[in-house]
């Protein structure tokens, strides 16, 4: 693995059931998605870290009018607190509200092969 987390590595991890993020060695903040430099302080001293796969729903919504390419209606999207970071994902099963505990359950994939983490209630 390179020093700086890439989208490819992040995606491979999601497909393997892991979540990777980055911790800034200078300001200490952790991000749930890869960057070339810390979005808060600009430092390039980013360390790839494994994020917990258990978390708590920070916010959520249920989408009933999907974009073209998605047939399903009524799917839930949530931003999940995972320790120091947050990640956006799709609910694969069940319904959740803010504050509910969830765990990584797999991933969803769009028409172009881009993946998103999937969560389910724990």
């Amino acid at each position: 693995m390179s020093d700086r987390l890439t989208h490819g590595e992040w995606s491979d991890a999601v497909e393997s059931g892991d979540l990777l993020g980055q911790t800034c060695s200078d300001c200490g903040k952790t991000q749930g998605t890869p960057k070339a430099a810390c979005p808060h302080c600009g430092s390039r001293a980013l360390e790839t870290v494994e994020l917990p796969t258990d978390g708590v729903v920070y916010t959520e919504t249920t989408i009933n009018v999907p974009p073209v390419g998605i047939e399903e209606r009524g799917y839930q999207v949530a931003v999940v607190d995972l320790g120091e970071a947050r990640v956006m994902g799709r609910l694969s099963d069940g319904e959740v509200e803010i504050g509910d505990p969830v765990e990584l359950s797999g991933f969803t994939e769009d028409d172009d092969g881009y993946v998103a983490p999937a969560f389910e209630p724990r």
Partner: protein, 388 residues
């Protein structure tokens, strides 16, 4: 001291338009030139906004196409794209150009077609709008734009107890204001009951919490502060702030506080040597009812957490203490993406001149416009004041 002045303003009715982009833009630009009393030959530059006609209509490099149509081929034209904050960013750059002495007289405007007249249905246009969310870390979840603001609003409801009824009150107010605006997409009033009875788009938003897909154009003529008095009815631009926030939403520190709006507002108020308390009204980016509530707090018009109660109590109505969106806002006036930012400034110009007709805010001297783009990642805030 003002940084620039608006001396001409024009816009089309927002709604459904079956005509090419250049013709639609001409219907806003020529009235703006006529209002200013300037000929195309007097325009030094054209700052232009369009967000998605490349995707929606296979139509790009619009700058010279539009300039040719309105009689100003030859002038430098630059096109801006910042999602829904597109034409306010064009405006910011035009103000900076006249402020710096680069140009004296600039045409600024935007045009967009988002209705099925483009050949794209709701699902296709929903995907095009979603292109402004992060391609790798947001779009693969199936996130839509109502979904983006639903995520912010649900957290705001959790933090402050904001209710669906309070969201509905925003829609009712803006539809009432839009009914007085001949350029509004929706000219019909609605009720809280009707709003709460609509189908859910992305909870907590029902159909009436969402702005429409609209076609339309808007334009203003911006001149340097020194030249302003040589035109009739100039309106001063005293501050323009512009800020961005981290993308994607998961990496923002506190998504529902819309930090970019707070930063842009602080810059604009500081430049204008004024404050939220001095604003007689605001035009804010109410793409969804929840977005208006977040904006009212981010601009400092109400305390954090008071956006919902303020709407419910009528404080943000035209006769309230902090009137918001007398034009009807995006919710009722409509939202042709690239035309929205300068259309807000058309409303500020008319109100500050005292020519807004039935929807006029009595004695309006100072006002603020808030135009947001993407997942609240771009915000441009403009303060304008009547020249007395």
């Amino acid at each position: 001291m003002a940084r620039a002045a608006v001396v001409g303003a024009g816009m089309t009715k927002f709604g459904v338009h079956d005509k090419p982009l250049q013709e639609l833009f001409g219907e806003a630009a020529l009235p703006a030139l006529d209002d200013a009393g300037v000929e195309p030959s007097e325009i030094d530059a054209f700052y232009f906004g369009n967000a998605m006609s490349g995707q929606a209509e296979n139509d790009t490099h619009l700058g010279p196409k539009l300039a040719s149509h309105v009689g100003m081929a030859g002038v430098p034209v630059q096109r801006f794209e910042d999602a829904c904050a597109t034409s306010s960013n064009a405006f910011k750059n035009a103000v900076e150009a006249v402020d710096a002495g680069v140009h004296d007289v600039v045409l600024v405007g935007g045009v967009e077609r988002c209705t099925p007249e483009t050949g794209k249905d709701t699902a296709a246009m929903t995907r095009i709008f979603a292109s402004a969310s992060h391609r790798q870390y947001e779009q693969p979840t199936g996130l839509t734009f109502p979904g983006v603001f639903a995520l912010f609003t649900k957290r705001h409801m959790h933090e402050y107890g904001t209710t669906e009824e309070q969201l509905a009150e925003v829609a009712v107010k803006n539809h009432g204001n839009g009914a007085l605006n001949p350029n509004a997409h929706f000219g019909k009033e609605t009720t809280v009951e009707e709003a709460l009875d609509g189908p859910i788009v992305a909870d907590p938003f029902r159909l009436m919490d969402c702005c429409p897909f609209s076609d339309g154009a808007s334009a203003v003529v911006v001149v340097s502060e020194e030249l302003a008095d040589s035109y009739d009815a100039p309106v001063d631009v005293s501050g323009v702030g512009h800020a961005t926030d981290v993308v994607p939403i998961g990496d923002k520190e506190t998504p529902h506080v819309t930090q970019a709006a707070r930063d842009a507002a602080a810059q604009a108020y500081e430049q204008a040597d004024t404050s939220a308390a001095e604003m007689d009204f605001a035009e804010v980016h109410d793409c969804f009812t929840g977005a208006e509530i977040l904006a009212s707090e981010a601009l400092g018009l109400v305390e954090d957490g008071e956006g919902g109660p303020a709407a419910e109590a009528g404080r943000t109505a035209r006769d309230g203490d902090v009137p918001i969106n007398p034009s009807g806002g995006l919710k009722a006036k409509g939202h042709p993406i690239g035309a929205t930012g300068t259309a807000q400034l058309v409303e500020l110009t008319e109100q500050l001149r005292g020519t807004a007709g039935e929807r006029q805010i009595d004695g309006a001297d100072s006002a603020v416009a808030h135009n947001l783009g993407g997942d609240a990642a771009t915000t441009v805030v403009t303060v304008m004041e009547a020249r007395r």
